[in-house]
Symmetry: C2
Subunit: 342 residues, 2 copies
Amino acid sequence: MARSGTVTIKDVAREAEVSVATVSRALNGHDNVAENVRQLVLATAQRLRYQPHAAARSLSSRRTQTIGVVLPDLYGEFFSELIRGIDAVARARRQHLLVSSYHGHPEEQGEALRAMRGRVDGLLVLSPYADQPGFLTDNLPAGLPVVLVNTQLPDSDYAALSVDNYGGATAMVEHLVGAGHRRIAFICGPKDNFDARERLRGYRDALARLLPDTQPLELPGDFDEASGYEAGKRIVASKHRPDAVFAANDMMALGCLYAFNEAGVRVPDDIALAGFDDIPLARFVHPTLTTMRVNIAELGGRAMTRLLDAVDANDELAAPVQTLTTELIVRQSSERPRRGSG
Amino acid sequence: MARSGTVTIKDVAREAEVSVATVSRALNGHDNVAENVRQLVLATAQRLRYQPHAAARSLSSRRTQTIGVVLPDLYGEFFSELIRGIDAVARARRQHLLVSSYHGHPEEQGEALRAMRGRVDGLLVLSPYADQPGFLTDNLPAGLPVVLVNTQLPDSDYAALSVDNYGGATAMVEHLVGAGHRRIAFICGPKDNFDARERLRGYRDALARLLPDTQPLELPGDFDEASGYEAGKRIVASKHRPDAVFAANDMMALGCLYAFNEAGVRVPDDIALAGFDDIPLARFVHPTLTTMRVNIAELGGRAMTRLLDAVDANDELAAPVQTLTTELIVRQSSERPRRGSG
DNA sequence: CTGAAAGCGCTTACAG
DNA sequence: CTGAAAGCGCTTACAG
């Protein structure tokens, strides 16, 4: 009757001459099974190579042992690190990971979220782009614990864990000002990206506070290397050149660096340069890049831990937004310039 | 009766005043439903925000719309790229992705494979380290289509897709010899890693063929940067220094480069250097690194496509091992040296 | 075109 | 400590 090769709990029960209920109890470690019976069941299961069918188990137990991760993309350092942190915790707590990328398409994101019903016990959601109000509420399966990662939601009732982009950006400006720079340009990230907006806000606030006589000097960018390169070319060509450039992320800082190299503008001698993220490349370029380290793996790990704790406790997740601090990494690109003057 | 917030197919049936069978048919696009009934069901489902329960659906339909990916790790460029290629195909074909890393622990790998029963429709498996004979057969859920990715199995009956490491390594040696190098050292990868062994084999064979009078010059390594650095220091200290170094992967080539830089050995003027993989860093270091590009995303995408085709066709996967060719990328680190002699 | 019913493979009160 | 039975939420022959 059973399809060849597929052995079910019934087969084990028949072989061990007990009921399926007893097999289930024995295999799940319940204590209301006689020890000799348990041994027999375990041995039989092993002999038949029985493996419980996950869908069946999920359906009746209402647990999937799986966490869903819905994110914009799987490409690149950031997501790789994030997944790594999530994975470490998942393994330690014996959870599976269902990943789903939506590549910036809100419809796909909504679909991905809805499709999680019956697949996962909880959800980690990244939505770095501005969301329609009610988007999550509309699409999240009811009753599924969620932790938002690096995702800003107005008036949200969701638990969230985010990088302290604002604090990191102000700290970077403080560092540059401390190194003697007075004209600090900023290369922005995408306008609809929350991380980018927070970093810009930090730049502006710190600048207004530390150098109240200076005008902010902002160049457009989109987090990609190419946009940093463009910004770099514009800076090189500008008449009143800044003495420091703070890029909203490392990739743009690198693009900017190429533009400087091309133009023979020396870093840090002619101009200081700083990024944000501390991608591995930052230590390898010449000069090495000053940046603000974001421990992405820790971000993922902490979010996962918080989510699993809620799942295990069958608890409501408290709403507060927790924050992950960043760390200033000073490298060659912002070394105090050997100036003629000042 | 139903837990608050969770709406099932029964609720939709009741609201639409049809049977659950009809709701199921309408929602799944079967054609044996009157058009007006279908409309009513669809509207009702939407109004109630009904979302099918994946586990229940899987249990009765025997389809999960999910592919499992079991790999040694989720860390780093290789897996990031691989997953990216897999994900692109998964999205296009509306499949979910269940990822599982086993971090080199065979027991965990076996567990991960077994736990896939009832969770996935097919499996992509990476096992770059030498496996016990029968390991996969022992642990793979019966009847689940599998494609092995970059995994060598003796006498395997599984479909597989692998990088042509051997061909890539011979091509690299040909390039170095063509550039005039006569004493070419090789930094090995881990002894139990199949990619590494194939690259070593390619190095040896090409050397024997092109420079039959030369002895191979092999240094130990483990694919990590640090081991490349150690090898580089040994090369610098050696009395009869090679004129080219071929590292079994880029990370070791970079480590080697640091050792050379430290010692004041210039690349490519004093010694040529080449790696394997074409990681992003290879374009960014100075000098830029000659390497053998492996299109990892394509590897993942092709494996996924092959697997899904088999799942869709309900087909047995044919066993042949397919191969992905590599591409020689010549950069500064192997430019023809400006020698005094020769 | 539609519904009642069986069944997917488990878990878990309920009785004993 | 154990088993019979209900139930998880679907899909799908089977009848009509």
